[in-house]
């Protein structure tokens, strides 16, 4: 299932300046993602998951370390290598569904007819067949996110990055979208790097889960998931994996909450030793 490394993240660090001083977002992160993998990154809020994704996509530059895609260093956004889906779908409100899906092709200079054709061909798999000429404001949240995914798939880049794409959706829609995405991935075999907060998503979709620590973000553990899709969440194997994953994430999430001056639930945490940082500034995940 796992081919040669397509994405190579090597000793990457990154700090951000905020109103309350520098924030150490990522500290010495290294990982590699193979061709055709569905790799999920999970971790507490503000652990730099989005920053890491932004770096792979060329939108954020590391302070130290480097990122290689197919052996070549990333110097900026390159849609021929990477397409990104964000939590906020970021659809252009003045463009119809088809025009939104065709956006990336338009930037690549594909002529009008060809890109309309390509976008229209995606409507079926996206479940948007009857919505070609609709505007984003006429769509539900799940449909908007499918348009955003369609926009990423349309440019047929070998890598698709997804930054909590279903994070703003309700639970039912979220589960259905996960199944749908899995179906798409199994057909296209695109390499996916997927950031989520959801244990369920991580376990149901991924071929590998990477757990990150609380800030500064490091890689805490890697959990390979060779189990074939679709997976039953009730199987003893997955129940056990879920418990293991939750144990690791819980620990980091507690540390993260502590660091933000949130409720102190961890029994071992000393009562507010460090001066508390200003809440709003410290909680920002990434710029």
């Amino acid at each position: 299932m796992t081919g040669p490394a397509l994405i190579e993240v090597d000793g990457v660090r990154r700090r951000f300046q905020t109103a309350s001083g520098p924030v150490h977002a990522l500290d010495d992160v290294s990982l590699s993602v193979g061709d055709g993998e569905f790799c999920t990154i999970i971790g507490p809020s503000g652990c730099g998951k989005s920053t890491l994704l932004g770096m792979i996509g060329g939108l954020v530059m590391p302070d130290a370390g480097r990122i290689l895609i197919a052996g070549k260093p990333v110097t900026g956004p390159d849609p021929r290598a990477v397409a990104t889906v964000f939590q906020d779908p970021g659809l252009f409100p003045w463009r119809t569904v088809v025009e939104n899906i065709a956006f990336g092709l338009e930037l690549q200079g594909v002529d009008r007819r060809a890109r309309r054709q390509a976008a229209t061909a995606l409507l079926g798999p996206l479940g948007l067949r009857d919505f070609a000429g609709k505007y984003p404001r006429e769509l539900s949240g799940g449909m908007r996110q499918r348009v955003a995914i369609g926009r990423a798939l349309a440019i047929e880049s070998p890598i698709v990055l997804m930054d909590e794409p279903f994070g703003a959706l309700d639970e039912q829609t979220r589960l259905l979208m996960g199944e749908w995405l899995l179906d798409i991935w199994r057909r296209t075999r695109t390499t996916v790097v997927f950031v989520t907060h959801s244990l369920h998503e991580a376990l149901a979709l991924s071929t590998r889960v990477i757990v990150m620590t609380a800030r500064p973000g490091r890689i805490k553990s890697v959990l390979p998931l060779p189990q074939p899709h679709p997976r039953s969440m009730e199987s003893p194997e997955l129940v056990a994996l879920r418990a293991k994953l939750w144990g690791e994430i819980r620990e980091e999430s507690l540390r993260a909450m502590d660091g933000m001056g949130g409720p102190e639930m961890a029994p071992h945490s000393p009562p507010s030793q460090a001066p508390r940082r200003r809440r709003g500034a410290a909680r920002r995940d990434a710029p």
Binding site: P79, F86, G90
Partner: protein, 247 residues
């Protein structure tokens, strides 16, 4: 019925104007009975045979001033909106300059550019530039920054971001600023001509007024008004189309 009432109102207004002008001084308060023949003489090229040349000159100055104001407004507003630091530094200065009555700059513009068309174009440009720039600046701030991030992720450079994301995203505000800018460019050119020039509609207005040819003066003002109203109607049609386009 409405048309009838409207016509009656206009007739009554003209009648009142006629009476008022005759009771006062017909020379200073030109009655319609004098203004309408003067307008006819003007249109038939009797009173000012070269009025068309002056009219074209004025329209040319307006187009030049407005064209420069649009280009500079988009460029400067775009730069200040795209580069946040630049915007923070220069945005308030621009807003402060906009609040200064622009007429105070006109004497120095005449010194720099002389009495001919250039100083009128410069003044019309100056007046039109600020509302357009500030509209672009405000409009860019209204655009959802996520859309810019998305466009960058799909490989868009600064110019593509401007053309494909910022312009359509701020169209509403932009078109409003473009319309205000046009009105002010027109004002700038005509005021410039009135304040000091040898040619153009403003110069003719000044000439007629200075010689107390008040009937001709009124006729020239009417023709100038028609030009201004036509420009504004054109702009408002464009604005409506833009609104329909963005929904």
């Amino acid at each position: 019925m409405t048309a009838l009432i409207r016509a009656a109102v206009i007739v009554a207004g003209l009648a009142a104007w006629e009476v008022a002008a005759r009771v006062g001084s017909p020379l200073l308060y030109v009655p319609p009975s004098a203004a309408l023949p003067a307008l006819r003489d003007l249109l038939l090229l009797r009173s000012y045979p070269d009025v068309l040349e002056h009219l074209w000159l004025t329209i040319g100055e307006i187009l030049a001033a407005y064209g420069l104001a649009v280009a500079a407004g988009l460029g400067v507003g775009g730069a200040l909106g795209l580069y946040r630091t630049l915007g923070r530094v220069y945005g308030p200065i621009l807003a402060a300059l906009y609040a200064v009555p622009a007429v105070v700059w006109y004497p120095s513009l005449m010194l720099f550019f002389g009495l001919d068309a250039a100083s009128k174009v410069a003044f019309g440009f100056l007046l039109g530039f600020f509302p357009i720039t500030l509209a672009v600046l405000a409009g860019i701030r209204q655009v959802n920054p996520q859309l810019v991030t998305v466009a960058r992720a799909f490989g868009a450079g600064p110019l593509t971001v401007f053309a494909k994301v910022l312009v359509p995203g701020m169209l509403f505000t932009l078109v409003g600023g473009l319309r205000t800018g046009l009105a002010l460019s027109v004002v700038g050119v005509i005021v410039g001509e009135i304040l000091g020039s040898k040619a153009g509609m403003g110069a003719l207005i000044n000439h007629a007024y200075g010689l107390l040819r008040t009937a001709d003066y009124v006729a020239l003002v009417v023709v100038t008004l028609v030009v201004i109203v036509a420009a504004d109607v054109g702009a408002s049609l464009l604005e409506r189309r833009a609104r329909r386009w963005t929904g």
